[in-house]
């Protein structure tokens, strides 16, 4: 498991990346996808995921739409044009950061 401290600054980029690759996603789906890709190393809690999703919506990076699935409301998130730009910028930043960290740790 990756510690919260290390994960803290990366969650936003991870979510933006996943939304950039998928047309729309909902909360549970996002957590499962992250868990799946990270091989169980990253497990997002409610407290980490939903405040961030709402903040992204508030900043205009994502938009939401709701749908009734299995007798309950499901909220889907999708990137806005602004969010797409933010996503590519954040992904670029993160790549540079990980490369630098790798160099430092070698």
């Amino acid at each position: 498991m990756i510690s919260k401290e290390i994960l803290k600054g990366s969650v936003k980029t991870i979510i933006l990346k996943l939304l950039a690759e998928n047309e729309k996603m909902y909360g549970y789906e996002l957590t499962r996808k992250i868990e799946e890709i990270s091989g169980g190393s990253i497990r997002l809690t409610f407290g980490a995921l939903y405040p961030l999703l709402h903040k992204l919506e508030d900043e205009g990076d994502v938009s939401t739409e709701s749908d009734i699935v299995n007798s309950r409301t499901r909220i889907y998130y999708r990137l806005t044009p602004k969010g797409t730009k933010t996503a590519s910028l954040k992904i670029k930043e993160m790549k540079e950061f990980t490369e630098t960290i790798q160099k430092l740790l070698q």
Binding site: E36, F46, G47, Y50, H54, K55, N70, R72, T73, I75
Partner: protein, 393 residues
């Protein structure tokens, strides 16, 4: 798309929905997506072979439903800058107000300069910063919706208690009425709180114990207050208008008696009467000297009571000589009781009044001022009565 294999029935979704709704989430969409997320987790576990009950229990163990409100608060803090700053204001004003009230009260108790302004500032910060911020925060968190009456009464009661504390500490006029009003608000709050605890099933024993504690505190304070209300000696700051007239009356009475004795020259207690006059005049002179060092006049004393920030210099003047006067009073008391012809009524008066403990010379300046005048009056009464007893018995 990642979708759990097992689907929950409507009634089971309803069970989860009902429990989530108890958190009273108000942020648009959050409640729906948390319900959906929890349902997905339960479906996931059921897909792995668990029963609904087992799956639901495991989900609740991993995600305590009490924490759902915290998620909303975290979200609010992230997206609402005003809410964030309100929370900060709440913390800072609460802490600053409490520290200032505590420091101000301590300084006032030890009669150090700056106590009054600090206390006033602290109460103002709590009343105008902390309480409004608390009200807005509760409103934002929608906590007011369910417990509106309770929260509002609690805030009003706290506000009025703070104001009454300020009045009491600053010795402002009408303190008694302000205290009475604040205790009425507290009483209403306690009644509402009792009703709330009885209706709520959570932590009932703990809540009732806390309520009991509050009620005991309330009773202790109000009993003291009501006792003080009926006790004329507690009328510290209102000067007894009859005092100067009383002093004059007994002074004149004693003078007349002394004149009669000196004109007839035939009293066997002439020596005692002379000593009585000299000792009485001595103690009155000392008391007047101390009294006038506090305030030049009664008008000045009244002005001091109504002043917001009181100067320190006054108390220092008194403290240095309070002990000396106390000793003089004790000596005078013993002298009077040693005189012949002391009637039982006079003995009672001397025993109860002319004792060091009967007056407080080391209190707040306006109280000491009044007590010094009461001492003068009592000395003059005792002198007159004793002279009467010596001359006519």
């Amino acid at each position: 798309m990642t979708t759990p294999a097992c689907k929950l029935s409507d009634d089971r979704i309803e069970i989860i929905r009902k429990e989530v709704r108890q958190s009273n989430l108000s942020l648009p969409g959050l409640e729906d997506e948390l319900i959906d997320h929890l349902c997905c987790l339960v479906e996931d576990a059921m897909g792995a072979g668990c029963s609904f009950e087992e799956a639901y229990r495991n989900v609740k163990r991993n995600i305590p439903f009490e924490s759902l409100k915290d998620i909303e608060l975290q979200t609010l803090m992230l997206i609402d800058k005003k809410f964030d700053s309100m929370k900060r204001t709440l913390k800072i004003s609460g802490l600053a107000g409490l520290v200032l009230v505590f420091l101000g009260s301590v300084l006032r108790v030890i009669r150090f300069p700056g106590g009054g302004p600090l206390l006033t500032l602290g109460v103002l910060i709590l009343a105008l910063g902390y309480l409004p911020a608390l009200l807005l925060t509760l409103k934002k968190e929608k906590l007011l919706r369910r417990k509106r009456q309770l929260a509002l009464t609690g805030i009003i009661a706290s506000f009025s208690l703070l104001v009454s504390l300020l009045f009491a500490q600053m010795s402002w006029p009408l303190t008694g009425y302000v205290q009475l009003i604040s205790w009425l608000f507290v009483l209403v709050f306690l009644v509402l709180l009792y009703g709330h605890i009885i209706r709520s099933e959570d932590n009932r024993v703990l809540n009732l114990s806390l309520l009991l504690f509050l009620v005991v505190l309330f009773l202790l304070n109000t009993t003291q207050y009501l006792k003080d209300l009926g006790n004329p000696k507690k009328e510290f700051y209102t000067y007894e208008t009859s005092l100067p007239a009383g002093i004059r009356l007994f002074e004149q009475g004693s003078s007349t008696l002394y004149r009669q004795v000196s004109s007839t020259q035939a009293n066997r207690y002439t020596q005692e009467l002379q000593e009585l006059k000299s000792r009485s005049d001595g103690i009155v002179a000392l008391t007047v000297q101390m009294r006038d060092r506090l305030f030049n006049s009664r008008e000045e004393q009244s002005r001091y009571v109504s002043r917001l920030f009181k100067p320190r210099v006054l108390t220092e003047k008194l403290e240095s000589t309070a002990m000396q006067l106390g000793q003089e009073v004790e000596r005078y008391h013993d002298f009077l009781l040693g005189l012949p012809a002391v009637t039982p009524a006079l003995r009672d008066f001397i025993e109860s009044s002319l004792r060091y403990g009967a007056y407080d010379f080391n209190n707040a300046p306006p109280i000491s001022y009044n007590n010094l005048d009461r001492l003068i009056r009592d000395v003059r009464i005792a002198e007159y009565e004793m002279a009467m007893a010596l001359i006519y018995r």
